[in-house]
Symmetry: C2
Subunit: 457 residues, 2 copies
């Protein structure tokens, strides 16, 4: 942090310790809350608790928005009920919704009751949208102007109504009924002559989100349009809120974390790995691990059908882990690639046959490569060790041919399973690497022993 800001923080800290609220107020007065909030948010919680009692509710709200969820929670507990009420009413609606959403239900309900009827209505409306929807993330802190206003009139309006809104980068144009007509970058106003009509700045080029859109969809729209904020409209095209790009950065990271954790074969933790309670983490991991374990039990069942063959040629058992894990690896590659491509919107469900064709080709090529290596390995080893017996070419052929089939099968299963899950309305990321591997293990054993039966026995 630069020296200026660091000094500022120390000075404020000293004033808080001395409870010198007069000097404190004077010190803070010249600053916009949003400019000092990031500096003040680094103060220890105890000092913040004192500060919040002495400073404006605008500043409290701005600082509060910058804190981590746990710090918010702790701080709120140090405040009296009227103080907490004032603070909560002042918070931007999107920050408030996010905060309440992470609290235990009973506490959230208690806090919602502290809100003014107007803010309570807004909050309940926002919380009524599905989790992970655009509605939950949107803020009502935007500025809208009318098309027949001049730039001067608009700027005057912004000066009186837009003070310290986080979202002054875009100005929205609406008609009397609140229908969205356009969004205009604030710099257009900055660069235009004061008497220009707003309508002359309009280009009719804007993208909108619906409040019921999933946040993953919003992410795709943001990536496409390079905007700092996007308007949210009702089915009747009324402007009802906006979503800002900095919130999307958090969404992008959360969505990726969720997908990555699911791909790793665990439920999404929804909390940082380092701070989640051990019991909670074990629960989230155990559920998937047990499901996979029960699925994998079928391998024992499948193998028991081939017990006689195994007894006749114990050498077959040596290659079981090698053969089935190759199918699992190929499958987890395919699943991972398809799941990520789906999340990025690279293709649609109805293109499934294109994916299938690709994996048919890729799976065959990969199977041939591994099959050839497998055969060679057995051929070379057999020259040095008697372990594969005089029939090593048969063993080699069995392993090689089984590998082609299993790798191809794994690639097809891995690529089609996420599509099937999506089609059925589930999250495609559920078809994690371990999940696909387990499925391929069972079918892989059947392929392996069938090839062995045909060639060796």
């Amino acid at each position: 942090m630069p020296a200026l800001a660091s000094n500022f923080k120390t000075e404020i800290s000293t004033l808080i310790e001395n409870k010198d609220f007069v000097t404190l107020k004077a010190k803070l007065a010249p600053w916009l809350p949003s400019d000092v909030a990031p500096i003040l948010s680094e103060l220890p919680i105890e000092e913040l608790a004192v500060l919040f009692r002495g400073c404006s509710k605008e500043l409290s709200a701005a600082v509060f928005s910058y804190l981590e969820h746990n710090a918010k929670h702790k701080l709120l507990k140090t405040l009296t009920q009227p103080q907490a009420a004032a603070l909560l009413n002042e918070l931007p609606s999107d920050d408030r919704t996010t905060f309440l959403n992470l609290l235990p239900l009973d506490l959230a309900m208690q806090l919602i009751c502290l809100l003014t009827p107007e803010e309570r209505k807004i909050t309940q409306d926002l919380l009524a949208y599905p989790e992970h929807s655009v509605g939950r993330m949107m803020t009502l802190d935007y500025v809208d102007v009318h098309a027949d206003w001049t730039v001067r009139e608009s700027l005057d309006y912004i000066r009186t109504h837009g003070y310290d809104r986080e979202t002054l980068s875009m100005i929205y144009v609406t008609d009397e009924a609140g229908i969205l007509l356009d969004d205009i970058r604030v710099r257009r106003f900055l660069l235009a002559e004061p008497e220009t009509k707003v309508s002359a700045l309009m280009d009719g080029n804007y993208a909108t989100l619906a409040p019921t859109d999933d946040r993953e969809k919003a992410l795709q729209v943001f990536r496409k349009y390079d905007r700092v904020a996007l308007p949210v409209t009702s089915p009747e095209s009324k402007l009802i809120g906006i979503v800002t790009a900095d919130d999307m950065l958090d969404v992008a990271s959360e969505e990726a974390t969720e997908d990555i954790q699911k791909l790793g074969g665990t439920e999404a933790l929804d909390e940082p790995y380092t701070t989640i309670a051990l019991s909670k983490m074990v629960k989230k991991r155990a559920s998937w691990l047990v499901v996979l374990f029960l699925g994998e039990m079928l391998t024992a069942t499948a193998m028991s059908y081939f017990e006689d063959e195994l007894a006749k040629a114990i050498v077959l058992s040596l290659f079981i882990p090698l053969v089935i894990s190759s199918g699992g690896n190929a499958g987890s590659q395919a699943a991972t690639l398809v799941i990520r491509a789906l999340a990025l919107g690279e293709f649609r469900l109805r293109d499934w046959w294109k994916i299938m064709r690709r994996e048919l080709a890729a799976g065959t090529a990969l199977g041939l490569i591994l099959g050839a290596i497998g055969f060679l390995r057995i051929a070379i080893w057999s020259q040095f060790t008697p372990i594969y017996g005089p029939h090593w070419p048969l063993v080699g052929a069995t392993v090689g041919i089984a590998l082609v089939g299993i790798v191809l099968w794994g690639s097809l299963m891995g690529s089609m399973l996420p599509l099937l899950l999506k089609k059925l309305g589930f999250d495609p990321a559920t078809s994690s690497a371990p999940f696909v591997a387990t499925l391929v293990d069972v079918t892989g054993l059947i392929i392996y022993f069938s090839v062995a039966l045909a060639i060796m026995l």
Copy 2:
């Protein structure tokens, strides 16, 4: 797209077809290039090629920046050399670097030679920074003002120098030597009295990036500070460029894609799954698949040491896939969680023992759960089928105890391997689920047979 923009596109399209450049120019004149660029970028390439010959180079550059890489490449080939030169010189430096970076080296060199000496120097400087560094992403299109200027002087300067810069949201304050003193949101200028000094708007609160910072680090800073742009400074604190948040959204998604693909056990594709050449994709997948295959061959070697034991108790082989895959699944869970936590900066390498302690506890708990289920499965089945023989309690105990050891071992390996890789300077995401699973398979077999030897044989 709203009706207004759609009409506009159709009109432009007709004018281009009719080669009516006079009306075309008049039609485009009132608009800022950056406002119409997203609309025009949706025209077909052939029409764009005509448009680029008739419109200003500012507009060409703005439209060009909006196109996909392949469209850019195709379009450039339709232009004459002087046209291409004019276009490339006009591109924002960050967009140009990104574009050149994705081209084959010889073509990129050819295009760099078309640049003016000044722009060539800028481009070569930017390309000299390591791949995926902040230097490669930064743009020089920022506006800086001096602390002793008034708001009016600054706005005049912005009007003449800042016209159509993408990055007018933040204004930078520098001294005569170019040292960065502060960044100020443009709305502060908008809301301030014209005669206010810039120094009065300064709060000394800003975060900076170094050009050598990895883009993953930049992402963490952006997430922390909620800024639309961050300044990049030299070691002497000189302002040398800025990075914008909309580019970070792409970075966030690319970084996640890379990590996800590596976690799935394939090299990062670096191209969309649906468009990458099949041969290229097979190559990227085959390399890892072969490495995993060679590693997995050790399972055959390990098992051959236990061939006699296997022959004595063929029932042991039935549970091999079940037992080793459980270790692999536990390992891939742990690896995935730790890798993601590392990427998000949730903990540091020196905290490895904290992670180890967590996994020791989680692994033991998960192992006991699976071990108990495994024992029960064998106990129940043995009542209905003679397959496990009269010694089923021994078989059950072997499987159950081995599971505890293997799941614990998998969790420890999975969590420590990414940390070890990072410590050695490799990308932790390389320790993918399949990679960890393969390692655990080999050691898992040894644990399984050792337990069997102790209990059964």
